[in-house]
């Protein structure tokens, strides 16, 4: 129904465009000068068609459900139902009208479902009638109004600019969406679990909260010692640290080599090849870590008499490091190439060798940019999910032994939220609280890193 109406409106839009342009041509044929190109007259009319349609559609979307609900529930007023019960009745009615109701059907609900369906169809047809008549009226009005000296280009361009501006708000809306989706659940979580317990507690055992019978009232004492996030935070930073131990030396040295030593030919082939590493999906790295690296490390460890877990932090961190190599290498490559040639020439003129120039002149000059790239790498390591989920453990151990398994913020979020989740359960809320802390940490890292890189760029441009 909506689709047909929509197609109809689009067709109307094209028709009004055609009529607008034709009117412009008729004006032109009377040897009067137009103030804009003919197609602007067409666009002008099309906009007069689009705006009312959009307004009515959104008004309907906002008000129709509420009004229908009020009308349905008016049958049940004065019968002493509580608000929650009324909501339940309404949900049942909707489910029944969709044919998805599975419980016991009472005659009351059946009657309401019929009423619901008839109300919906009335609403739909009245929407169609109202939309079409208003569109036709507004287009006719605008058609009458345009004449040789009416302005059409300016309103059309203003409208376009407004559309462009609205689109640019998408980025802000996404950020707001992220904050909103996280903040309410997080606040609810901290109502049950004190912030202090979350930040400084050392026992993370969310499964304990799940055993709770849903009929029981929330009992805060039950959750003490359940949501202490220290092992999770420690595990996250530990794995990120291992990853950076792999990524920084390899990434930095290959960046330096590509920027300073490599011939054009080597650079041409090696750079894109290394960047392939960045394009491989993380789930593939996870599979590689779990299937190959983990058992390999375990075998080596066993042959040396060490007790290595098959899901060790070392396997996850090491593979994550490989993933981050290209980020560091290409960013530091860019940074080093943008160091002015004069610095190099000065150093060579003093008799320094190439490596001395790099170590003593270029590296210090490029340091802020390199630090920025490393910070971006750290932020990526902290936010990486699939490698840890697949290759490292899911139990949160508080350990600094890279051969044991640890867990991270991201892995815990996945473990908690995979499958069905009940909103309002402290376990689910805990995942959002973890997400909030992840968002904040990476936000700080990103802002600092982007600022450092930007400052550095300004210095040499």
């Amino acid at each position: 129904m909506n689709l047909i109406l929509f197609t109809f409106i689009v067709l109307l839009g094209f028709t009004s465009y055609y009529f607008g342009r034709r009117k412009a041509y008729t004006i032109q044929s009377t040897n009067k000068r137009l103030t804009a190109l003919p197609q602007f007259y067409g666009y002008y009319l099309a906009i007069w068609c689009a705006i009312p349609a959009f307004i009515i559609f959104s008004l309907w979307a906002i008000f129709e459900p509420t009004i229908v609900k009020l009308l349905i529930l008016s049958d049940y007023s004065n019968q002493g139902y509580l608000d929650d019960e009324l909501n339940l009745i309404y949900e049942k009615t909707k489910a029944l009208s969709r044919g998805q109701f599975t419980g016991e059907i009472t005659p009351f609900i059946e009657a309401s479902a019929e009423k619901y369906l008839s109300l919906r169809s009335i609403a739909q047809s009245s929407k169609a009638v109202i939309v079409l008549s208003i569109i036709i009226a507004s287009v006719a009005y605008a058609y009458k109004k345009i004449s040789s000296n009416s302005r059409t280009r300016e309103p059309v361009e203003k409208f376009l600019k407004a559309v462009l501006f609205t689109a640019s708000l998408a980025a802000i809306l996404t950020t707001v969406g992220i904050v909103f989706s996280l903040i309410f659940q997080t606040i609810d979580f901290f109502k049950v679990i004190p912030l202090f317990d979350f930040v400084f507690g050392t026992h993370w055992y969310p499964a304990k909260a799940f055993v709770r019978d849903s009929s029981e009232a929330l009992d805060p004492t039950m959750y003490s010692d359940t949501f202490g996030a220290v092992p999770i935070f420690a595990g996250t930073f530990f794995i990120a640290f291992i990853a950076m131990c792999v990524a920084i030396p390899i990434g930095l040295m290959s960046g330096i080599y590509l920027a300073e030593y490599a011939s054009v030919k080597v650079r041409q082939y090696a750079k894109p090849l290394i960047e392939i590493l960045a394009g491989i999906p993380t789930v593939v790295y996870g599979f590689f870590a779990a299937l190959t690296v983990g058992p390999f490390l375990k075998e080596i460890g066993n042959s040396m008499g060490l007790d290595v877990s098959a899901e060790s932090a070392l396997a996850a961190g090491g593979v994550m490091g490989i993933m981050i190599i290209p980020f560091i290498s290409s960013l530091s490559d860019d940074v080093i190439t943008s160091v002015p040639q004069s610095l190099r020439d000065g150093s060579y003129a003093m008799g320094a060798t190439k490596s001395e120039t790099i170590k003593k002149v270029i590296f210090p000059a490029a340091l802020p940019g390199i630090v920025g790239s490393i910070l971006l790498g750290v932020s990526r390591a902290i936010g990486e999910t699939m490698i840890v989920v697949m290759a490292s453990g899911l139990a949160a151990n508080l350990t600094l032994n890279p051969l044991e398994s640890t867990s991270t913020i991201t892995a815990q979020i996945v473990v908690i939220l995979i499958g069905d989740q009940a909103f309002g359960d402290p376990k689910t809320q805990a995942a959002f609280a973890l997400g909030m802390s992840l968002f904040l940490v990476t936000l700080c890292l990103n802002i600092v890193a982007l600022r450092v890189v930007k400052k550095y760029r300004e210095k040499y441009e």
């Binding site: 980025a171 996404t174 991201t410 996945v414 995942a431």
Partner: protein
């Protein structure tokens, strides 16, 4: 004195050489990882493109199938194939007792009934006759035939019994076991049984998600980039938008999954596990990538183009829409494709919005529950059956193939159509 100087110089040269070597070593390491990686995936995955079939003589006994004389097409469709299927498997060993007959039945997939039925529907004149029919071997025998299954394990530790192996070896000797290209890997949906599992459902899920993502992210991102690059006044507010975009590009993907769960599913009540929600979530992730690419290529259009258009009397909007934007399209498009390739490989946010549900039908629209290729990799990698290991690698090969094609395409667009100014 002179000797000292020479020594020092030698030392410095040696240090130079060493430093250079470190650089070469680092590049070598990075490329080594890449090679090991690709080798490992290919060496475990290539065998999944072959499938083992057992060739079993089947007697289409009308009585056992409960068929009347001269059955119509409908009758054939409704006939009972289980008994003849069972009988033909049991006939492989005439001396088999009841347990052994059960083991024989488990040598083929549970689709064997359907495979026999398809044979008869293709050629109804087979009734009453005997014909060799290709039946999908069970995944364990499939692995045995491919040599991936250690046969020397004690019997209680493997899923194939000695008896099954004996019959299987007899069949191999008779030439009744054949390996053919595994078409069903591409045409079947996911399944709990490794020999029947295919990527069709997750592939369609990926396609739908990417289409939804493209339809939302591309227009919004291009419009936003045009505004920010061409029209936006330089003030606090546009700076704020910029900071937002740059930061969103670096937000961990799982946070977008939480956004999809907390807003799209919980507030807007969109259907769970569907490519629609997955696509919207991915589009929010891809948005900053496309905006940044589009702005960069708008910036690369030289001001002289704009000035020429303005000098000819075009308005600002006409200049932008008729000249600047078309000239920036190659860069924008290749940035979009790269962004979509990233979205195609994304797993974590899709897991959070429930696209890990087991789906054994091929989705027909973005509103049907589905998985996606990376999620399928995750699901199979987590299952214990040996047969899934090669499937995972094969699925990775398909996914990587798509990513490579997309990236090549982006490169071609960039090199073929992008104008070089200067």
């Amino acid at each position: 004195m002179n000797k000292n100087k020479e020594q020092l110089l030698n030392k410095r040269y040696k240090a130079e050489k060493r430093f250079r070597l470190y650089g070469q070593g680092a590049i070598f390491m990075a490329l080594l990882f890449l090679t090991i990686f690709i080798f490992k995936i290919f060496s475990t995955g290539y065998s999944a493109f072959q499938k083992t079939w057992l060739i079993v003589p089947v007697t289409f006994d009308a009585e056992l199938m409960m068929l009347e004389q001269n059955p119509s097409k409908e009758d054939l469709k409704d006939a009972d194939y289980y008994d003849i299927a069972l009988k033909s498997m049991a006939d492989l060993d005439p001396n088999a007792n009841e347990d052994q007959e059960n083991e024989l039945k488990r040598m083929v997939s549970y689709f064997f009934e359907r495979e026999i039925k398809r044979e008869l529907l293709n050629d109804p004149s087979l009734i009453g006759k005997t014909k060799d029919v290709y039946l999908t071997a069970s995944d364990d025998l499939d692995q045995v035939f491919k040599g991936n299954y250690p046969r020397d394990l004690p019997e209680d530790q493997r899923r194939v019994t000695d008896y099954q192996l004996k019959i299987f070896d007899q069949l191999v000797e008779l030439g009744k076991v054949e390996s053919k290209f595994n078409l069903s890997f591409f045409t079947y949906p996911d399944s709990r049984e490794a020999e029947l599992a295919g990527i069709a459902s997750s592939f369609m899920g990926s396609i739908f998600s990417i289409l939804v993502c493209l339809m939302i992210a591309f227009p919004v991102a291009v419009l936003a980039a045009i505004y920010l690059e061409e029209f936006a006044p330089k003030n606090r507010f546009t700076d704020f938008i910029e900071v937002n975009i740059n930061n969103l590009a670096a937000v961990p993907s799982i946070v977008f999954g939480l956004l999809g769960l907390g807003i799209l599913l919980a507030v807007f009540q969109l259907p769970r596990s569907t490519p629609l929600v997955g696509g919207i979530t991915l589009s929010l992730m891809t948005l900053p990538t496309i905006i940044i690419a589009c702005r960069a290529s708008l910036k690369a259009v030289p001001p002289s183009i704009r000035e020429a258009a303005l000098a000819m009397g075009a308005s600002k909007m006409q200049t932008t829409m008729h000249h600047t934007v078309p000239l920036s399209m190659p860069g924008t498009l290749s940035g979009t494709i790269i962004g979509l390739a990233q979205a195609l490989g994304e797993t974590a946010p899709l897991i959070l919005i429930g696209m890990v549900a087991f789906v054994n039908t091929i989705p027909g629209s973005p509103l049907d529950p589905a998985a996606s290729l990376p999620v399928q990799i995750y699901i199979w990698a987590e299952s214990a059956e040996r047969g899934f290991v090669e499937k995972v690698s094969a699925c990775i090969m398909v996914l990587l193939g798509f990513l490579i094609i997309m990236n090549l395409f982006a490169q071609i667009i960039r090199h073929k159509f992008e104008k070089k100014w200067s």
